[in-house]
């Protein structure tokens, strides 16, 4: 359906809903690269005026990507909760923004309406929100998940310990794991990105990590971030706690990752049968990031932030333990600088949380983006305030295998301290028992004879 808006006698026309969404997006290089961005500030604000007046109901009648040609669209439409939607069915996108920010809408209310919201509605409302709105609403959401510990409770912030090594050397990986544990990281997951995605190498990494976990009785989960097909082969051959996969917001994007929804279901069902969780059964780990659909030439003319929100519809179908956007990894042709990365990080966290996902964030950048550690400190602090479930912990921020910079174990201690956040409760008890942290969350001096340093 076409839309128009007139500002000072100039008529701005938008041929369809997806062009309104694209042109209403705060500027980012990826949308410009795709030829979808607003061509002037006036056109952008015209699109935002138009968008504010579009009824939420219209999103159920006009698909951005054809139902017949895209299984993600089918998933979104077929799982929409029409009953929960009744309460907000009279809203425009602008009404939704104002309602979300009102005091009457609390954590419980947000949980109730999560499945009434399609990713397109959530992306749309985010485009009308300032950064403080994205933070204020996300902070009201509480999404708690469990496997061997409890992640996402208010007042807690967990860390994925990311011990990557440039040649997959097991001793090198173990060294980084010990470093991270002694800095209080690892409660979200201990998760390796392998250099070589083969059954043998991934299997050995899982066995090594499981041995450490069991020897020290660590209440956490382990994961190697390999391809889904590798995980499927390893389900009954290696200690597989979580199943990892990168996902995108269109069927074609997922095809470029070598997966589809039925493969995700097969892996999810297979891992559930292993029954390895002690407190809960959330066992999928998904990574996403704006720009992946454009990069795979699979975006259907839909802007990168809306494509990203559609990936969250895929994620929530499989009750994940962890979901994070790898926001700054994609490079400056999609997110140019610290400002664009910051905005995208807050959008992704907000959209994921509003849709009911246990959202974390890889607060990160590559060296060819216009960003540095100061930008990451800012985004980390903002996400901490917004109630982000987890962040990454990389030794000294420098991932020596993926060649990019993320947050460090020290950064995690910083954000917990300044915002009065604590690790996952079970993991926090373990840290106390191991003499890593004291009751106030400060690190204790570690003696060379510490258990974690012996016999490795």
């Amino acid at each position: 359906m076409p839309y128009t808006y007139t500002i000072q006698q100039k008529v701005y026309s938008f041929p369809d809903l997806k062009s309104v969404l694209a042109k209403a997006s705060p500027f980012r290089t990826g949308d410009a690269l795709a030829g979808l961005a607003a061509e002037s500030n006036m056109e952008r604000v015209a699109a935002q005026f138009v968008l504010s007046e579009i009824a939420l109901k219209d999103f159920l009648n006009e698909t951005l990507i054809p139902y017949e040609e895209d299984e993600v669209t089918r998933l979104i439409m077929d799982t929409h909760d029409a009953i929960a939607f009744q309460e907000i069915s009279g809203f425009t996108v602008g009404d939704l923004r104002n309602w979300l920010l009102s005091h009457e809408v609390d954590s419980q209310k947000l949980t109730q309406i999560a499945k009434a919201l399609t990713p397109e509605m959530v992306a749309a409302v985010s485009k009308l929100m300032r950064n403080q709105d994205l933070i204020a609403v996300a902070q009201k959401c509480e999404v708690v998940t469990q496997f061997r510990n409890t992640i996402g409770k208010k007042g807690h912030l967990s860390v994925r310990l990311q011990p990557n090594h440039p040649t997959d050397d097991l001793r090198g990986i173990a060294a980084s794991i010990v470093d991270g544990l002694l800095y209080g990281s690892g409660d979200a997951v201990i998760g390796i990105n392998p250099v070589t995605d083969s059954v043998d190498i991934v299997g050995d990494q899982l066995k090594m990590m499981d041995e450490i976990r069991q020897r020290f009785d660590i209440p956490t989960q382990i994961c190697v971030l390999c391809h889904l097909t590798t995980s499927l082969e390893l389900l009954n051959k290696a200690p597989m706690d979580l199943v990892f996969q990168s996902i995108g917001g269109t069927e074609k994007t997922n095809a470029s990752f070598g997966i589809d929804l039925s493969m995700l279901k097969e892996a999810y069902d297979g891992a559930l049968e292993l029954n390895r969780g002690t407190l809960g059964n959330n066992l999928m780990y998904f990574e996403t990031g704006q720009g992946s659909s454009l990069s795979a030439n699979a975006h259907w003319g839909v802007d990168q932030q809306t494509c990203e929100a559609r990936a969250y519809a895929v994620a929530r179908h499989f009750n994940p333990l962890l979901v994070n956007s790898v926001v700054g990894f994609i490079g400056p042709e999609y997110l140019y600088d610290g400002k664009q990365i910051t905005r995208a990080g807050l959008e992704d966290h907000f959209c994921g949380k509003l849709m009911g996902l246990p959202m974390g964030m890889d607060v990160c950048y590559t060296n060819h983006a216009e960003a540095d550690q100061d930008d990451m400190d800012n985004l980390l602090t903002l996400l901490g305030v917004a109630g982000c479930n987890f962040i990454m912990g990389v030794p000294g921020s420098d991932d020596v295998m993926l060649n990019y910079q993320s947050t460090s174990f020290h950064d995690a201690l910083y954000v917990r301290k300044v915002l009065n956040k604590r690790p996952a409760p079970e993991f926090e008890t373990w840290l106390h028992n191991m003499g890593v942290l004291d009751d106030t969350g400060n690190r204790l001096a570690v003696e060379p004879s510490h258990r974690l340093l012996k016999n490795l």
Partner: protein, 251 residues
């Protein structure tokens, strides 16, 4: 007499584990923060990486040397006009500008192999690594007709445009890779048999991580020689050529 304040830095008693990884472990702490010495080391590595992105291809030096070896060499650029546009518009970095295209088409010939020396994201890596590697490789290539191109503001796929303009059978593109903190001057090599516009990654073979702490010039030259022989024998490049790095390097 005043006492000198004690140093607040807590050292981590597992520095011995650094033997197993170049990750930044056992940094110690002051409060929750990384000690300043390590912060400055990080900034030093970061500055090195950022500067690597801004380096320029030393076209004069490269051309002079190649001409002294008696090979033809042409100088081209992509449609990108400056570094900022280079970072924002990878699509323009994959296409020759009009003048370059005319130049190459005037020289369309019967080349077997065209080597493209391209700046990419770290021109310094190519300035430093390309010629020493080629000196080891070229003696293995008797019987092939060979030409050279220097390319600025170039992305990997510019090699396809160059190869098809010259009607070359095979293109090997030597290009600066995205700088990491521990590898600011790393070069990659992408090889394509029967290059033409619009090819995607699965039609290319790639050798990555050529730098002083990574793959050596000798190792890289052996790998490229292997890919050239395989590609000319099978008349293909990319995923259909299986390359077992570990086996080849151990030979």
């Amino acid at each position: 007499m005043k006492e000198k304040p004690s140093k607040p830095i807590i050292k981590d008693p597992w520095e011995n584990l650094k033997e197993f990884t170049n990750a930044r472990i056992a940094l110690g702490s002051t409060g929750n923060a990384i000690p300043l010495k390590e912060v400055l080391q990080f900034k030093f590595a970061y500055a090195h990486s950022k500067d690597a992105i801004a380096t320029e291809l030393d076209v004069v030096m490269l051309k002079t040397k190649i001409q002294s070896w008696d090979y033809p060499v042409w100088e081209v650029k992509s449609q990108v006009s400056d570094r900022s546009e280079y970072l924002k518009r990878p699509d323009l970095g994959r296409k020759l500008d009009a003048e370059s295209e005319v130049l190459l088409k005037r020289n369309t010939g019967t080349f077997d192999i065209i080597f493209v020396l391209a700046d990419g994201l770290s021109a310094g890596a190519v300035n430093r690594n390309a010629l020493p590697l080629l000196q080891l490789l070229l003696p293995q290539l008797d019987g092939y007709s060979i030409g050279f191109v220097t390319a600025t503001m170039a992305r990997v796929a510019l090699g396809d445009d160059i190869g098809s303009a010259l009607n070359a059978k095979f293109v090997a593109l030597l290009i600066g890779e995205r700088p990491g903190l521990s590898s600011p001057e790393s070069m990659g090599i992408y090889t394509t048999f029967a290059p033409k516009l619009g090819l995607t990654d699965e039609r290319r073979n790639c050798i990555s991580n050529i730098h002083s702490n990574g793959l050596s010039h000798q190792q890289a030259a052996s790998l490229v020689g292997y890919l050239i022989r395989q590609s000319f024998a099978k008349k293909i490049s990319g995923v259909d050529i299986k390359i077992n790095l570990k086996e080849l390097l151990e030979d």
